[in-house]
């Protein structure tokens, strides 16, 4: 498997405060990779820096191209897409228009097949296509944000906390969709606080703490790892005392 996204020795800082320190990461084609960690570990910062929203120091390559000098818009053009934590939808525009603009940079801009693909993944969006994005429920907004990102036919989709503030049944729905994406040839880089759900669908995982990766491995390994289990999955292993 060839590497899609490669990051080596990346640093991201807000002024003098380094939020991400010396991080190296790789995502291969057809792979779901998750970054788990507590609130404030720097996960969102890292995703924003990969997208170009924040400046990143270090090496970052995507499909052989050097991303460091490229603007957000050019990264989108290469096939990188971010569904941000706050979704950043066009609230006063219809669901359909939001999706249409998602294909703004795509070669098949707004083609019927692109719409069909998104509507098949999220039938709810088809029902609501004439509605304004601002009137959707939280789960529907998350679906729309993902749908909008998929309209541009990205090679790597980055999801920032897709489960945030959603009911468990909707979370399950969204995670099922994420795992379906892989069979459609889209790689996924998933940032989650809901580690349990993320590890279920991921191939590999990185554990982030205070701006650094402290652990990495296959999702199954990470899930079994005792420290991770105690910190993020809420399991208490026999013999360990509660904190």
């Amino acid at each position: 498997m060839s590497a899609l996204l490669t990051i080596a020795d990346a640093h991201v800082a807000y002024g003098k405060v380094e939020a991400v320190r010396s991080v190296s990461l790789e995502v291969a084609a057809n792979e779901i990779v998750t970054i788990i960690g507590a609130n404030g570990a720097g996960k969102t910062t890292l995703l924003n820096a990969i997208m170009g929203v924040l400046p990143l120091k270090g090496r970052i390559g995507f499909l052989g191209a050097d991303l460091t000098q490229l603007e957000i818009e050019d990264r989108v053009g290469l096939g990188l897409s971010l569904v941000p934590e706050h979704r950043e939808l066009f609230w006063s525009m219809s669901v359909e228009d939001n999706l249409l603009l998602g294909a703004f940079r795509g070669t098949s801009a707004g083609s019927a097949s692109a719409f069909e693909r998104v509507y098949t993944l999220f039938p709810r969006l088809k029902e609501r296509r004439k509605q304004l994005a601002g009137t959707l429920s939280g789960g529907e907004q998350q679906m729309l944000a993902m749908g909008r990102a998929l309209m541009g036919a990205p090679k790597l989709l980055m999801l920032d906390e897709p489960s945030l503030g959603l009911a468990p049944i909707i979370v399950a729905d969204i995670f099922r969709t994420v795992s379906e994406l892989r069979s459609a040839g889209v790689s996924v880089l998933l940032v989650e606080q809901n580690a349990q759900a993320a590890l279920k669908i991921a191939d590999r995982a990185y554990v982030m703490e205070l701006g650094e990766f402290v652990l990495q491995g296959s999702a199954a390994e990470i899930e079994r790892h005792e420290g991770v289990a105690a910190s993020y999955l809420g399991f208490q292993h026999a013999g360990e005392s509660g904190i």
Partner: protein
């Protein structure tokens, strides 16, 4: 009485165009476009100069600004020189205004048809508008509304000074677009006023279609609604800004060309005309297009009546319109959402 209303609506239609342009530019770029009035003056006086067989200085300004814009592009791309991109920037920023300058100097001194002069004036002012965004506002795109406003005032002053340099302190008039006239009951419609109505309505419909139906129009709206969201789908906010300024300068210049056969325009007249469009835009809350258009008609009618009955207080009365509107707005929306930055 009726002719006052008619007069007011003719002026109001022009204010409506200007108000719509202001709302558009503010929504997309957060710039309060004070130099809108200069677009009016430049359009009007460029057209008048061309019609009088003179060479307008604005064509040279467009080329100078274009060269400066190209230098900016060159500087911005210094780390990543790509020939294809540079060639395109050179074509748009230097070759195009150069060709327009050549064409203008060829046109000047010749008796060319009205429509050719109108077209040339519109192109010249459109170029100035786009380059103005590139030079003054694109480098500041991330700053606060206040900084953009200060830059906007600076541009207004600079452009007004240049206007004095190009066109002199004396006023000019241009030839009418259409000579025909028709009488309907007590009202007399000149060809010019019919052109004003027709073009205003056509522009509003065209804008409405552009924003409602085309992908680029929607991309512009999206930039206005959520800048980060727009960038994340690959819409270049700088391109959106340039399109907004292009539309605003064309609208401004067209308004000027429509007015200059009716009234004498001086190098600084545009400012006051632009301000009246601004009142309409404020009444529309800088967001609502239909409210702005209606408010502009109201401003025009109030102006017509006050200049007839109390001409000394004409401007005072028109600008006083703002006070009840602002009062009402602040009462209606006590919790005003302040922008974060």
């Amino acid at each position: 009485m009726l002719f006052l209303v008619q007069d007011g609506i003719t002026n109001g239609a022009i204010y409506a165009l200007l108000g719509l342009a202001l709302v558009l530019v503010f929504a997309v770029t957060r710039v309060i476009l004070i130099p809108q009035g200069e677009f009016v003056t430049y359009g009007a006086l460029t057209y008048a100069s061309l019609s009088a067989g003179q060479m307008p200085g604005t064509a040279k300004l467009a080329l100078v600004m274009g060269i400066a814009a190209f230098a900016f592009d060159l500087f911005a791309a210094r780390r990543l020189l790509r020939w294809q991109k540079l060639a395109r920037a050179f074509a748009v920023n230097v070759v195009l205004p150069g060709a327009v300058l050549a064409l203008t100097s060829w046109l000047a001194g010749r008796h060319s048809p009205v429509l050719v002069n109108v077209g040339a004036s519109l192109v010249i002012v459109a170029l100035i508008g786009v380059f103005l965004y590139r030079l003054a506002f694109q480098p500041l795109a991330h700053t606060s509304v206040l900084v953009l406003l200060i830059a906007s005032v600076g541009c207004h002053l600079a452009m007004q000074g240049l206007g004095l340099l190009f066109f002199g302190a004396e006023g000019q008039r241009g030839p009418a677009l259409a000579d025909a006239a028709a009488t309907l009951g007590p009202l007399r419609f000149t060809g010019q006023s019919i052109a004003v109505y027709g073009l205003t309505v056509a522009f509003i419909v065209a804008l409405w279609l552009f924003f409602g139906l085309t992908v680029y129009g929607k991309a512009l709206r999206a930039t206005a609604v959520n800048r980060l969201g727009a960038r994340l789908v690959g819409i270049r906010t700088s391109l959106s800004g340039q399109i907004a300024f292009l539309l605003a300068s064309v609208i401004g210049a067209l308004s000027g060309i429509l007015i200059v056969p009716i009234t004498t325009l001086y190098y600084d007249t545009g400012f006051l005309i632009g301000l009246k469009g601004f009142i309409a835009a404020i009444i529309g809350g800088l967001v609502s297009y239909p409210l702005t258009a209606m408010a502009a008609l109201l401003v025009g009618v109030v102006e017509a009546f006050s200049s007839f009955y109390a001409s000394n207080f004409k401007e005072v009365i028109v600008f006083t319109l703002l006070i009840p509107v602002l009062l009402l707005r602040s009462l209606a929306a006590p919790a005003v959402e302040e922008e974060g930055d």
